[in-house]
Subunit: 174 residues, 2 copies
């Protein structure tokens, strides 16, 4: 066994990425505070070839120093849009057939290990690092998922949580 | 549906965490450069109640400003040890019955969606952010797993990857 060389990873070029078929998965980042978290979502979104990242509310957007630091180029490859308001965006996505799932600890959340094969196309909504998904968005969501946790902290880092959720969705599509 | 209040999350106190039964999962972080990545592993390790984090080589260890920033307290809850050399540590873990899995892109890696229910107790090894797992560690590992990637970048962020892998292991134990 030996490590693969970079050219053996068969990664696509940014031009090829733009042309290639994406997984029917998008992400909505609403009122995320940290550009580093946003950049991390771009890097993960590139790895999993997702369709689009929607940046809503005061979520930082490219060009942005913190985003660049953690996206390491992926903010140039993954398609993104900014919308000032998340509510009309979610309504619009739903009207176009997107299944909208929020990641939040609520009275009606489904623990991730109990999620059945999710419908597609799917848009996954993440909210503010401290306050979570805003109360006006929650009622619009088709479903809410929660990663079970067994420790002392209230939550996972949002970009780590994003990786877990996106992998969970993508693995069902492989 | 409404968001849960903090006291409804039923999180344990640091004292309760130390006493509670852990999942038979440990993490080895060998020659990780960034304290922020290390801190992120502590936060994820707390959430998933793992047994221990081994910090080897030049991986930063607490007390450390960057670790504190992303661990937000979890470096006080998750048990950890520092070992200067990873090779004897892995040999020792194996001799105690730990199944040692590396996360790396190699000629013999198993893609994560093809991993069968992993043996336990399991130690998951992550290497340097750029160079990955060192060549002297690779031959000692029982298995190597790889997260499939479809984009332009060579790899995921190591702490995002850590979240994905730990979730994949923990979900099998629920």
């Amino acid at each position: 066994m030996r490590k693969l060389k970079l050219d053996e990873l068969n990664r696509v070029t940014p031009e090829e990425f733009k042309e290639q078929k994406k997984f029917p998965v998008s992400v909505v980042l609403d009122n995320i505070r940290s550009g580093m978290n946003v950049g991390s979502f771009f890097r993960t979104g590139d790895a999993f070839a997702i369709e689009k990242i929607y940046l809503t509310g005061y979520t930082p957007r490219p060009p942005h120093k913190e985003i660049f630091k953690t996206a390491i180029g992926a903010s140039e490859t993954v398609a993104w849009e900014h919308h000032q308001e998340a509510v009309p965006l979610i309504r619009s996505l739903k009207s176009k057939g997107w299944y909208c799932v929020g990641i939040e600890q609520t009275t009606a959340s489904v623990f991730l290990q109990n999620v059945t094969k999710p419908r597609q196309p799917i848009a996954v909504v993440f909210g503010n690092e401290v306050h979570g998904i805003s109360d006006d968005l929650l009622p619009l969501l088709d479903e809410v998922w929660e990663v079970p946790q067994f420790g002392t902290k209230h939550s996972l880092n949002v970009s780590v949580c994003g990786g877990i959720i996106l992998w969970e969705v993508i693995r069902e599509l492989l």
